[in-house]
Symmetry: C2
């Protein structure tokens, strides 16, 4: 048997080109990529001796894309400048073909594209790392939505100790994704579970339940997780920003309050989201003025894609009703370079004209996850205190 | 605003080569791959006009690998023969470089390699599909293992209705992965949640909790999910099959019985696993003879990698003790072509020589997920009845 096992391991760490066979065997990349050095430079490698031109594109590159260089052994390499601690993502472009780094198994999907990711350690990424702290539970649950006529999937984070805390009840943050996202997005690119674990561990935020529903009203779940089969993701979904999601929101609240030990009142409910999710937060919170005492609009879209829904009518009157018993926090955040900046400016002006109170946070940068992770880290500190 | 959104969508469905910018934009593949036809042929496509040679390797190919053909537009294509309904996986090999299919976002990681997957619909894959039935909850939880000196992550499936079933208690299946796997493996390649959802929906199995721990005693969690950072996966982990996992198994049971509404006795506990997980099931169940009334060895490794642990001593005496109050089911399954076949044959002979009773299922094929999914579908029907 000892001999068999040795063979097993040898196969496991075998050839770079792996052909399927009748045994479960694996190839491992013979190179390390990316390699994050202590000086915060990062080296990327790709073993592609036959390629003519290899580029790397990533959100850590000022130019967006750079050419890699081939060494005599056929390995293409690029070493970055020292880059700031943060979570980053990248792809290779090999002779015009965009691919994931075959040496890096750490990937996230954003809408239709799979990216590799890495973290540069340091203060800017500390909250996104998995640290040696107590961890909450992340569950994928299915709830019934009579309003949408579907069973639907969502992600739910319960804080460390939830399972063993007896009758203790918790406040709830409803956290919404943007267009092209789904119930996975805040967990993968948003690092929501890590942010909550870390902030709870340091006592900076109240232990809370975080509910991440699927905001695409035509979907029951993320691509690949539905009974409609392995349908490729698309951004141009029907029933997006047409009022259907907001109308059906009470189904989500009902499930959560029935299933989890929540503090089921306005004082202990927050809603926030990015881009389309900020839009959903804006319109859901004004539609149900007794539901949320904390509202966060992160790089929010402001105007509906499809007019006509009851949800979007009489915005000012509904906002006045919402602010008559004003939320404890109405927090608007956006980056200076965001393509939705002007819409947000106009929305703030509308709120100013109404004389209602909100908090405003303006960051650098555009419509990117780096900002949304930071906004979440900031917003959650302000909740339920 | 309408104009802004149009731009947004246009970007979203934009160029095949996508360069990072200050806005969150996505590329979508301009081609569909794979395309599963109603005649059960499958067409694969790759848009790589500059490539010289493209091959596809997959577990549905008798030869393991075939060359693709380039059309005049630079798209490489391969159409398979009609293939049997099943879940399959594949990669492309582009001028010697093994990559995932950029047009297919559905991927699984097996040890160090990322594969694309697809399902051919039909009877053979029906249990692996997400059907329009009630779905259980899948949670990633962290438990404390004093015996291993770590907090560790595991996956837990609770059946549909668990949350709303009041005081009802459930039996538990402990389901263990193989070498190179972790707490994700049975959910991704094993389709355990789909199998349980579907079999429970048709009344073929008892609603049960399925606990999928991480069987690598040196790991706290799957790669990328630990506080040790984004360490690439490796198969050659320390403390693998050296007794540490089996010794620490009571920590898992203690957490599960404390946290979930379990029927916490031998009559309502099963343990099963594939390859190394079958090995762990064998040795854990004989080490704790009062713990499991159902044992499943799927393509099990039989002999330890590292001798010397107390766990592996006196195998026959411990088996005699286990079978003195014999498990209701001791189920051994293996494929005719499995590289562990001979070891299993020797183990069955040892059981025969001891005069103990077990059930034996021999399938076609080797040491592959296709078999393990089928074994799970078969084994769970036999539990707790």
């Amino acid at each position: 048997m000892k001999k068999t096992i040795v063979t097993f391991i040898a196969l496991a760490c075998g050839a770079a080109v792996q052909i399927f066979a009748q045994q479960a065997i694996w190839g491992v990349p013979s190179i390390i990529s990316p390699e994050v050095s202590t000086d915060r430079t990062v080296t990327f490698r790709l073993n592609a001796p036959n390629a003519q031109k290899v580029m790397i594109t990533g959100d850590f590159l000022k130019s967006g894309v750079v050419e890699m260089e081939k060494d005599t052994s056929g390995i293409w390499t690029f070493t970055s400048e020292a880059i700031n601690p943060e979570m980053y993502r990248y792809n290779y472009i090999v002779d015009g073909l965009t691919i994931a780094d075959p040496a890096n198994v750490f990937e996230v999907r954003d809408a239709c594209t799979v990216f590799n990711y890495f973290l540069v350690p340091g203060e800017g990424s500390r909250l996104y790392e998995i640290n040696d702290v107590d961890h909450g539970t992340v569950a994928k649950v299915w709830y019934d939505s009579p309003a949408l006529g579907m069973k639907r999937r969502m992600s739910i984070y319960t804080p460390p100790g939830y399972e063993t805390s007896g009758d203790r009840r918790y406040p709830v943050l409803y956290l919404l994704h943007g267009m092209g996202g789904d119930e996975e997005a805040w967990l993968t690119q948003g690092r929501a579970a890590q942010i909550l674990d870390n902030l709870i561990a340091e006592g900076a935020v109240e232990p809370m339940i975080v509910v991440m529903p699927n905001g695409n009203a035509s979907q029951e779940a993320a691509p690949g997780e539905t009974h409609f089969g392995l349908v490729p993701p698309t951004v141009a979904l029907p029933h997006t920003m047409d009022g259907a999601f907001e109308e059906a929101f009470p189904d989500i609240i009902a499930y959560v309050d029935r299933t989890y030990r929540t503090k089921a009142d306005k004082q202990h409910r927050a809603i926030a989201g990015l881009s389309m999710g900020g839009f959903h937060s804006l319109h859901t919170s004004k539609q149900y003025p007794d539901m949320f005492d904390y509202v966060g609009l992160f790089s929010a879209a402001i105007n509906p894609r499809v007019e006509g829904s009851e949800i979007y009518k009489d915005r000012e009157a509904k906002l006045r009703r919402q602010f008559a018993d004003a939320p404890k926090l109405y927090w608007i955040a956006i980056g200076k370079d965001d393509f939705l900046y002007k819409d947000n400016e106009a929305y703030r002006k509308a709120l100013d004209d109404m004389g209602v109170k909100y908090d405003y946070h303006e960051s650098a940068g555009g419509h990117i996850w780096k900002n949304w992770r930071a906004y979440l880290s900031d917003f959650t500190r302000r909740l339920f205190r």
